[in-house]
């Protein structure tokens, strides 16, 4: 891998930018690997990268049925934060946020991580109590979190409608100043390039159609490009986790729902932070291009349509326009849906499975993007050592039987 640098930029400028090498190879699948990661999104690519970097397992393939980052990695609203309630989640998401802070340097790829702050609004007494409780819990866990009064919200983000006469008046907010946004495509590309440089084979247009097993352990996968063998297989397929796990006879406690987002036409910089509201199910930030990036609530029914219903978009824009009346004149450019795998306790599953050599990373629901580097880091540990990292040990499949749930319905921005 040739490093990207100011010198490389100057050198290539002299050659009319015709000398850049491919960011990653396009290899043919080998008949056998030490480990296979199914799913070429951010989490899968990060897992492959850390398998190679931290555990020396470089004979790894990432199998992607479409193109890299074409699923939820390229469909989310790019918000990064770690202000979760319980110790287990706070540790996991904060682990990830700490990696985010040095990720561009580590990958030698600009992921455009911008710590512009993330605000969570309170609209009623219950919200106020819940957010204050979470702010205290965050501080006890060493995670930065300020509580803002209504007046401080106005000072921090003057655009917000503070009128007491609206349907859901703003009463206060939490603010995590280290939170922010990142360029989601760059995260997939950066991890892909760095993993490839360490010998990982990234194979696109390769759909897994079956999981091969012998005597209670995995031996490989059937794919649209033939059989590929491996003794360790990690499933990182988000909305399609139930489908993939079903190929191995495992039922998961997840349901797949469309989560929609949309962007407006680009305008001059007017919003320099991220504003989220659980109560009205809307969140918004402004991209570097100037578009308002707006996230909606999930469609309430199980679906794999990657589209979602128009009424959800309507409801979200009602809320956005009430919070930001000046946005009523913005025209929306694009709308899309991603299929999110929601868990009953709104926490992920990073776990071994009853089948030896088969590992699963799923259930991130509506908020997986922020966890991309940390999730890959601990999941690689789980695969390499065949035992969970201390940070993901609480997020096992067994917790649904033992009852040790990690209930993050309050900290997940979107109701599950």
């Amino acid at each position: 891998m040739r490093r990207y640098s100011i010198l490389a930029l100057a050198r290539n400028a002299l050659g009319y930018h015709e000398g850049w090498e491919r960011a990653w190879r396009a290899p043919e699948p080998k008949p056998e690997y030490d480990a296979i990661i199914v799913g070429g999104g951010g989490h899968g690519l990060a897992t492959a990268y850390y398998l190679a970097k931290e555990h020396g397992i470089t004979n790894v393939a990432v199998l992607e049925k479409g193109w890299l980052g074409g699923g939820n990695t390229g469909r989310n609203t790019t918000i990064v934060r770690s202000n979760y309630l319980w110790d287990e989640s706070a540790a996991l998401y904060e682990h990830s946020l700490k990696i985010w802070e040095g990720l561009s340097q580590e990958l030698n790829y600009n992921v455009m991580f911008s710590q512009r702050g993330v605000m969570n609004l309170a609209h009623n007494l219950h919200d106020l109590r819940e957010l204050k409780r979470r702010a205290h819990a965050n501080r006890l866990n060493g995670i930065d979190c300020d509580f803002l009064s209504r007046e401080q919200v106005g000072e921090y983000c003057p655009l917000i409608n503070l009128s007491p006469d609206i349907r859901h008046p703003v009463l206060g907010a939490t603010l995590q100043r280290r939170g922010g946004v990142a360029r989601h495509d760059a995260v997939a590309w950066g991890f892909a390039r760095a993993a490839d440089a360490r010998g990982v084979d990234i194979i696109q247009n390769c759909e897994v159609t079956g999981i091969l097993r012998e005597g209670g352990r995995v031996t490989g996968v059937e794919t649209s490009r033939g059989t590929i063998r491996a003794k360790k297989i990690g499933l990182v397929t988000a909305g399609h986790s139930s489908v993939l796990a079903g190929m191995a006879g495992i039922r998961l406690p997840v349901e797949s729902h469309p989560l929609q987002a949309l962007v407006s036409e680009p305008v001059k910089p007017i919003l320099d932070t991220v504003v989220m509201s659980n109560t009205v199910h809307a969140y918004v930030s402004q991209s570097d291009k100037g578009e308002m990036v707006i996230g909606a609530g999930i469609d309430p029914y199980v679906s794999y349509s990657q589209r979602g219903g128009f009424n959800v978009v309507q409801d979200t824009l009602h809320a956005i326009v009430e919070m930001f009346p000046m946005f009523s004149r913005l025209r929306m450019l694009r709308q899309w849906g991603g299929i999110v795998d929601t868990c009953p306790d709104a926490s992920p599953i990073l776990s071994k499975t009853p089948i030896e050599g088969l590992y699963i990373n799923c259930g991130w629901g509506t908020g997986g993007f922020k966890a991309t580097p940390g999730s890959g880091h601990v999941f690689a540990h789980t695969i390499a050592r065949d035992e969970p990292h201390p940070l993901n040990a609480p997020f096992s499949l067994e917790r649904f039987t033992t009852g040790r749930l990690v209930d993050e319905h309050g900290a997940a921005a979107v109701a599950h």
Binding site: H240, S242, V243, R251, L252, P253, V254, E255, S256, P300, Y301, V302, S303, Y304, S305, R307, G309, F310, N311, P344, F400, T401, T402, G403
Partner: protein, 93 residues
Amino acid sequence: MLTIPCPWCGERDVHEFRSGGEAHLKRESRTDNLSDAEWADFLFLRANPKGEHAERWYHVHGCRRWFNAVRNTHTDTILAVYKPGEAKSEVSQ
């Protein structure tokens, strides 16, 4: 899926309905007889197929009655609707 055909009222806007999740789940009457795994199965495991799905709907802003539907979760096409108590309709692909 912009409209849903309510078996009581006919075709109505999707906004009038509330999704009730998987249909035909059976709750064991003596839950104290269940093992932890069986109880977890009832509480947390749902079908979640990519394809035909039998599910409950509630016409909350209409007749306020429940009914069942079979829907293709990949295309969001509703293949059949039927009233509570009726058997899951035979639906061809």
